[in-house]
């Protein structure tokens, strides 16, 4: 499945400035692994021991994967995966 992974501005230094990365994957975890394969620096920013860090939310087509199957959540062709860390700036 072709999946679009959206990277928030604060994590873009780890992707060389890229805000949207197209990958092939069957699950959210697979999509993230494919992104990490391109930009390894992103891995430690959003995961810890293979799991998502607690302050990072990931959404597939608008729904939080925490309330679905986590990293095992299936992705459909054309799905948008949004990585969203908490931000406190005001």
């Amino acid at each position: 499945m072709a999946v679009k992974v959206k990277i928030p501005a604060q994590l873009r230094p780890a992707t060389g400035g890229e805000g949207e990365i197209e990958v092939e994957a069957e699950t959210v975890g697979g999509a993230l692994d494919a992104v990490f394969a391109k930009h390894d620096g992103l891995r430690e920013r959003i995961t810890e021991d293979g799991d998502l860090r607690r302050f990072v939310n990931v959404y597939v087509s608008g729904e939080d994967i925490r309330f679905q199957d986590g990293l095992e959540t299936a992705v459909e062709d054309g799905a948008e995966v949004t990585i969203l860390p908490a931000v406190a700036g005001g």
Binding site: A9, Q10, G62, L84, A86, V87, G89, G90
Partner: protein
């Protein structure tokens, strides 16, 4: 051509032809029977005082509007005006021209009614200056006089008079939010002015709460500004929040955001929360127990090394302008009841692509603050985490 009659004769004739009731009789009827009481005076007279339960149809709109309010021709109707003249003429029109079968005019009008010691209501209204100032709100049916009054009665607390707080405070003040509380412990710095538009160059070095108050007072004298120059902490949060209806979160650090969340859930106060960094903004409205809370969305804050601030990472000046105004819009919706606030919805804005994305936020059944199994938390422990000391710096 008819022979001319004097106005006094016309009135006397009308009074002779219609039924009149005395105020005391009218009061008894209103009390016991099924009767429609109609005030036929002008708008300003009605606004000043009227009899409780009366519907208002000015005599000048009698023919065009009466049917709409009272479609039943056999209905018992009592009309009144100031002294009983306009209502007598109106009663004649209703009976003779419009076919109403049971119409009376109240003799002596509301003047005699009051002389008899009968009660009137004096509805709150806006002053002439306020009607002019808020006329563009009042013209909008979704707001109207009622919505404007709700805004004037509202007490809104802004957490932070910085990037987000500046535009939201200015627009909330302009819109006529009656009480604006401002919490900020900072002073205006030259580096703030690229985005914090409530402050200005002359006020560099002045406490932000004071600088914001000066700007608001110059914009709209209706607004009562309450300055809280200091930092929100576990010792003052409950007392500070208690006085307000809605909280606007524009804090620049995580500990304050979690503290505010925990206290607002305890007090069941809605929080309009936004955050910004570089080109990205986030916005949601947390209404305790109706939707998720901030901890449902973000169970834990990032460690300080992964939590950049605007001071460290930079932010586009227009970004807090957009997000702060969206916060003000959310406040408007919460206060007036108009529209659909962002409850259970997280709005992302990406400035470079000018792209909005909406995500769903659910209540977390395991939420330690608003979940069904949330433990009791002592006031002093609000906003804390087991490893709280690790991220006490914003």
């Amino acid at each position: 051509m008819k022979a001319p009659v004097s106005g006094a004769d016309l009135i006397a004739r009308a009074k002779a032809e219609i039924e009149e009731v005395q105020p005391t009789e009218a009061a008894a009827e209103i009390e016991s029977a099924d009767v429609t009481l109609v005030d036929v005076r002008e708008q300003t007279e009605f606004e000043e005082r009227h009899i409780d339960g009366a519907i208002h149809i000015p005599r000048s709109y009698l023919e065009s509007r009466f049917e709409q309010f009272v479609p039943d021709r056999s209905r018992r109707i009592i009309l009144y005006c100031a002294s009983g003249i306009r209502s007598a003429l109106a009663a004649k029109t209703l009976a003779e021209d419009l076919g109403y079968e049971d119409v009376s005019s109240m003799a002596g009008g509301i003047t005699l009614w009051r002389d008899r010691g009968l009660p009137v209501v004096t509805p709150r209204s806006l002053t002439q200056e306020q009607k002019e100032r808020y006329s563009r709100h009042i013209l909008v049916p979704e707001i109207g006089l009622e919505g404007q009054m709700k805004m004037l009665d509202a007490k809104v607390l802004l957490l932070g008079a910085g990037g987000l707080g500046s535009p939201s405070a200015l627009y909330l003040a302009a819109a006529g939010i009656g009480t604006l509380g401002l919490i900020d412990d900072d002073v205006v710095d030259a580096s703030n002015l690229q985005r914090q538009v409530i402050h200005n160059t002359d006020r560099i070095g002045v406490p932000k709460t004071e600088s914001a108050r000066l700007a608001i007072e110059a914009l709209n004298p209706d607004v009562d500004v309450v300055e809280h120059h200091g930092r929100l902490d576990a010792g003052n949060v409950i007392e500070l929040l208690s006085d307000y209806d809605v909280i606007v979160d524009g804090a620049d650090n995580f500990p304050t955001r979690y503290l505010l969340n925990d206290a607002s859930v305890r007090l069941r106060k809605p929080v309009v929360s936004a955050s910004i960094l570089s080109f990205d903004g986030q916005l949601s409205t947390f209404v305790p127990y109706e939707g998720p809370c901030y901890r449902c969305l973000y169970p834990t804050p990032p460690p300080p090394e992964l939590a950049p601030s605007c001071g460290a990472a930079g932010v586009l000046g227009m970004l807090p302008g957009i997000m702060g105004l969206l916060q003000a819009l959310e406040v408007f919706k919460l206060v007036t009841g108009a529209g659909d606030p962002l409850i259970g919805r997280l709005l992302l804005f990406e400035a470079l692509g000018t792209e909005f994305t909406e995500l769903k936020v659910k209540r977390d059944p395991d939420c330690p603050i608003c979940g069904p199994n949330a433990p009791q938390i002592a006031d002093g422990d609000l906003g804390k985490f087991p490893d709280y000391d690790l991220f006490c710096a914003g």
